[in-house]
Symmetry: C2
Subunit: 433 residues, 2 copies
């Protein structure tokens, strides 16, 4: 009865950003945990920093050779601080400055970058259990940029319009920039992205001849898949001009442009009636203050027997996105807790039929993206400077760690209008053998 | 790809509480929709009442033979009002008084009782879309009785201690008083209750030798099933003394008393570590103000690789239980919206892995209960007076209608501590062929 399914528990592959090397010299001072008095001023600053993060098992090596280890056991990573200014930056605003200093090459991590970041998340998860008020204040301080119609355009342009060629290097054949779905632990990235699209289409119970509206379509991959394999008509919305251009060319080249209309417009301007509403990986950019608006769009789009699916990064409880990611990578982004997501559905009496958490699938997807990224470093370097290269590496590795440590979740939510009684008895239809 | 699953869409069996009969007489006045001027004072009161409920397609027949039909189409049910006092009661507080007057036999419904109640829910769902403030005020007015330790004991005693013999008449062989799970549309009640228990055990991925804590165990059915078929040890909590007594006898008779400890105590007094936490059909009695307390109990009960499941009646959005049901049947009960349920999990960083909505399964379960109830009417009448007989019929039929119209939902939520990475890749293991 208790089928032993393969799981993604295996240790992440050693994605060593900077391979460990022995940088110890004869005259360096090795300072042990038990001797705080023997620490220099800089050493005491490091200690303070380690404590702020719940004492992860790290060893710092300063520009002058001084070493400071966490009091907690054997270090799993070595953090090399290359100049004195780094310390002041880290102490002032570690959550943002660490990423910047790493990108600038003023901090080096010896050891597995993902494991290092996992240890950061794990150690600080204790200090994250702070009272609600403090966490809310932290949330206000790191409030993401607003997603008005114009704000959304700027925010989306920042991330998605940096060049389709760049994304093509590491997203794999499908160009799907969202969590994949691994039916087996050995599935490849492309297989898993295709399986994800089928999983979504099955959950929506798409039938040939039906109509689908898609809010946020990336490079158009899901719309193409739905049109080709499920025989539906798709009207898809996206405000990233680079992505719209790319998707239109792709649909034309694949002879599917009569079935798909890619619209360069905001999801708030969706109108008309459809059999299904789907949005994969857009909600992160919507902003909680617009959730009820989004729900209204979905409610109006669906007739009585309509079905909807929203796929989004989320959290176990409300809290801001890691602030460096929000500032440098995804302006305006926010991964909601389920209680927050309910602001989409509850005001409109939309009925939640199914929620699935694909957290570990996203960790695996990101590992595959990071592998491809590292394999194609030469090409990335020909497009961007070293700062960008390191920034993107940190973002991908940090995201793996976010999902493996449970700091981030991935929710797929299926919903329907309240009076839709055309619901399969069981979910077995989602799992064809 | 789009498997055509059987669904529970079929019309409910004609559960005719009082069979329709032609009670028209020669001299009665038939008053049509278009002629409000020709209505008597009582007729105008009925019109007002119909409007309050969104004009469901009913015909009223008064004690004096006067007939008043809804302006909306052909009536699907006839409401016979047997005395003038009924009208004043209905106008003052229809949501509570209808149930009382029906129980007293002062209102008769000619036609299918379930269809009648479905039409009430459907017609009033429009008027339910009232602004949030009004709905919140309604919620305050119908605030359920509190569930302090002592309050819970009283509330639970009211419903569950009216006699095991009574429940045995219509719950079927399993004595499970919660939503069943119909793997096929033709499954019997007993088959579906057993399938529900297996569905829950699979979701929890129980392994032989593991330990389970159960919060609220009814007549002990699930604990017996888990012990017998999954080889686990169960410690189960319930405050209904009748149920505890019954469950202990049952476990002894079935030779499972060494594996199960039935504890007559409140869920708030659960202590110790377990592999799984399960609660099926208790949350309705917990009260939102105690959800975070319940979540703390679950969090402390589970080790890192623990799994939890909470199964509860719910709603698409916050709102009180139908007030007659809350007053006369389930004092202190409240079906939460998912946003409210999140108050169990989010404060404790518990991760939601899976939510399934089994709304139409509960409609089918209730249809089966109502059938058994009507089949055993003679026995029920030997135990209770006619008022009780009619009250219970209305409660069961009204609950069918609550689920078929989407007024009520049934959520099964699977959760785990945040750092539990022992999660199967897919949910296919829940669906053995």
């Amino acid at each position: 009865m208790n089928a032993a399914e393969p799981s993604l528990r295996s240790k992440p592959e050693a994605t060593t950003a900077t391979p460990p090397r022995d940088s110890s010299t004869a005259d360096e001072r090795r300072l042990e945990a038990g001797s705080p008095d023997s620490l220099s001023t800089e050493g005491r600053m490091i200690r303070k920093l380690l404590r702020m993060f719940g004492d992860p098992p790290f060893e710092f090596v300063l520009w002058n050779g001084e070493r400071i280890a966490s009091p907690r056991g054997c270090p799993i990573a070595r953090i090399r601080v290359l100049d004195r200014g780094v310390l002041f930056g880290l102490l002032r605003d570690p959550n943002v400055r660490f990423g910047d200093l790493f990108s600038d090459g003023r901090i080096e991590i010896d050891g597995d970058l993902i494991q290092f970041l996992e240890a950061v998340y794990q150690a600080s998860s204790g200090s994250e259990s702070q009272p609600g008020v403090l966490r809310r204040i932290a949330g206000l301080l790191h409030r993401p940029r607003t997603n008005t119609l114009a704000g959304s355009r700027d925010n989306i342009h920042h991330h998605y319009d940096i060049g389709n060629e760049f994304y093509r290097l590491w997203l794999g054949r499908t160009m799907a920039y969202t969590c994949a779905y691994y039916p087996t632990a050995t599935a490849t990235l492309d297989e898993a992205q295709t399986a994800k699209m089928d999983h979504v289409c099955r959950k929506l119970r798409l039938k040939s001849g039906e109509s689908v509206v898609e809010a946020g379509f990336g490079w158009g991959t899901l719309a193409l898949h739905m049109a080709r394999h499920y025989g539906v008509k798709v009207r898809a919305f996206n405000i990233s001009r680079e992505q719209v251009r790319y998707a239109r060319e792709r649909a034309k080249a694949e002879g599917l442009d009569s079935q798909i209309e890619y619209v360069q417009d905001d999801y708030r301007n969706i109108s008309g009636r459809f059999d299904a509403f789907v949005s994969v990986g857009m909600l992160e950019h919507v902003g909680v203050e617009h959730y009820t608006e989004l729900g209204g769009v979905a409610r109006r789009a669906l007739g009585r027997n309509g079905r909807g699916l929203i796929h989004s990064i989320g959290r176990n409880r409300p809290g801001p996105l890691q602030p460096w990611i929000e500032r440098r990578i995804f302006p305006g982004a926010y991964p909601p807790a389920l209680s927050e997501m309910m602001q989409i559905f509850e005001p409109w009496d939309l009925s939640i039929l199914d929620v699935e958490n694909l957290r570990l699938h996203y960790a695996q997807t990101l590992r595959h993206w990071l592998e491809l990224y590292e394999q194609n470093l030469a090409r990335v370097r020909s497009m961007f400077d070293e700062r960008f290269v390191r920034m993107w590496r940190l973002y991908l590795a940090g995201s793996v760690a976010g999902f493996t440590t449970g700091t981030l979740q991935l929710f797929q939510v299926v919903f329907a209008p309240p009076d839709n009684n055309d619901i399969p008895l069981t979910r077995a239809f989602m799992y064809p053998s």
